[in-house]
Subunit: 344 residues, 2 copies
């Protein structure tokens, strides 16, 4: 890889270089990069605008010793898209701000933007603005995503009602176990020349950590089957934490069943290898970017038709609290042990 100092381009040259391969696809993207603001058109009568933002910091959210910059760019986008899908919306535009310390070259940042571009193409999203700056230490990525919702169809966290069914897509804990594996191999490789990390048979959990996807396929199925989720969010901090968010926002309780929590076999094998509790990892691991949602009991037959979605429990009256029913039929109170940047 060539190494070109960023100062050779300057801020405006850098923006031009980084955004040259991006083109605008949406009618709602009236004007993109290059003015004081981007101009968007969300004037459709039935339309509402969704806005979400995420801050990703080196040393807190990612470790560049094992995260390739291209994957990082991709993931930084996907975590935002996931938030828009979690409202039953469609992501349309992003702004990307990056803070870059001296150890990064133009080629490095171009790699990052390559990942951003691929994610934008994959999910049909336009890059419309941003900001670039030097940083004192490390890499900083701040992405804001604007999406389109249909009035009356946007799904909040607050609409779950007693007797609703609780569903989750995909499987849980894989990204977390992927992270454990990456960290184990990083430690094993320290000081070892030509160290080759051993990921054989664990490719899936590595991919779940490094290159997560947002579940727009589930959103598409929900629309096709005319399902009406009463509440929805994406699983970023762990299922326990998100269940409690829905219960709190909706003023309800819940029961989820341990034997229904979807877990991939690679996740299970990794937990076994590391002597970790598998259900704890699945409930609290985080970064799954699966969709957690509730539907009225009357839609039971419809959700049976959803591909890659599992019914894991039901919503209860608030006074019944939030519990997991274990395999031996005892009840375990759900507590948020989700990822918290301030306590680790």
């Amino acid at each position: 890889m060539n190494e070109t100092e960023i100062s050779t381009l300057g801020e405006f040259g850098l923006i031009k270089e980084l955004t040259k391969n991006f083109s605008l696809k949406h009618k709602s993207s009236v004007m993109g990069v290059g003015d004081d603001c981007a101009i968007l058109d969300y004037s459709g009568e039935d339309t509402e605008t969704l806005v979400t933002t995420d801050l990703l910091l080196e040393g807190i959210h990612f470790d560049l010793t094992y995260v390739p910059l291209r994957h990082l760019g991709y993931k930084a986008c996907v975590v935002n898209f996931s938030d828009v899908y979690a409202m039953n919306g469609v992501p349309k535009q992003i702004t990307v701000s990056v803070g870059i310390s001296k150890r990064f070259t133009i080629e490095h940042i171009a790699e990052l933007y390559d990942g951003i571009r691929i994610a934008c193409e994959e999910y049909g999203v336009d890059l419309v603005g941003g900001d670039t700056s030097a940083s004192v230490t490390g890499l900083i990525i701040s992405i804001t995503c604007v999406g389109e919702g249909v009035k009356g169809k946007t799904v909040k966290r607050s609409g779950a009602r007693d007797t609703d069914l609780i569903c989750v897509s995909g499987n849980l804990g894989a990204a977390y176990m992927g992270l454990q594996l990456l960290e184990r191999e990083r430690e094993a490789g320290q000081g070892v020349e030509d160290f080759q990390p051993d990921f054989a048979g664990k490719e899936y959990i590595i991919e779940r950590q490094l290159k997560p996807e947002a579940r727009r396929d589930v959103i598409a199925q929900i629309a096709e089957l005319d399902i009406h989720p009463t509440s929805m969010m994406d699983v970023s901090d762990g299922l326990s934490s998100e269940l409690l968010h829905i219960c709190q926002s909706s003023g309800v309780g819940c029961r989820v069943y341990e034997d229904r929590i979807p877990i991939d076999y690679q996740t299970a094998i990794m937990a076994e290898e590391l002597n970790m509790n598998l259900v704890t990892a699945a409930m609290n691991g985080g970064e799954d970017y699966e969709l957690l949602f509730t539907v009225p009991l009357t839609e039971h037959d419809k959700i049976e038709q959803l591909k890659d979605v599992k019914l894991i429990g039901r919503i209860t009256k608030p006074e019944l609290g939030a519990y997991m029913v274990t395999r031996d039929d005892s009840e375990l109170e759900i507590r948020a042990q989700g990822w918290n940047a301030f306590t680790e």
Copy 2:
């Protein structure tokens, strides 16, 4: 001031604490903080949506040894509002993301949000979302602002035409000179016990640096007088840099007149004291957040009626280049020496 570690609250507790004094004012703010996305309504037939974002980093954009956190919060908002006004729009919503290192307490961050709240109240803007995270070093602030424009009235950088008049609001170079003064006093105070910085007679330039305002009053006057700017932007990197942006985007040249560049007397005195070239400071200082705009020659009489706006030059054919006409009638090519985070 009490000192409470942020980890005592956790991420969600912190967000709740920081946003408790914010309320939603706009009809377009359908739902704010507390879900995967904010929901906005920009479905007005004549409406378009404006989006801008700014990344502010400790050690690059601000120095907390002389910038109070409340002022910083205020300024972080205002620089975004200024970008929306510079499109002839009205700022309506912001998302605020902060990265916080261990040396900051809850009380510190509450100060920052106090400044953000005051700016939001002053400018009639709703806080609708954001993200908080620990950071490895220093304070990181990323704000995205959403604003409303009227279709056909939004002003880009690209519409300036030959013979248009060039106008600028307020005066230039004051914020830059304020920064020089703050840095001088910081250096003078190093290692001196009970040092009192001497700002007497320089309060205006200090305020321009620490607590800048966005020129919505100018936008209001432009509407009242039915003026039609052909191009507009805010002066954040210095007049020279912004003039070149307009010339490049519009495919035109320009002539501005040295003796028409508006400069406050405190700016002049400070430049004298520091033995700096006054016009260079005014042309390249940056952080003025004044509005630079062009209007058709036919609106000459109208712009005479604008308060606190000065006619500083005219747009020319592109082949005539971009020059400043000095007091002795020679022509000086305009070069962007504006602030650049990557070369300082």
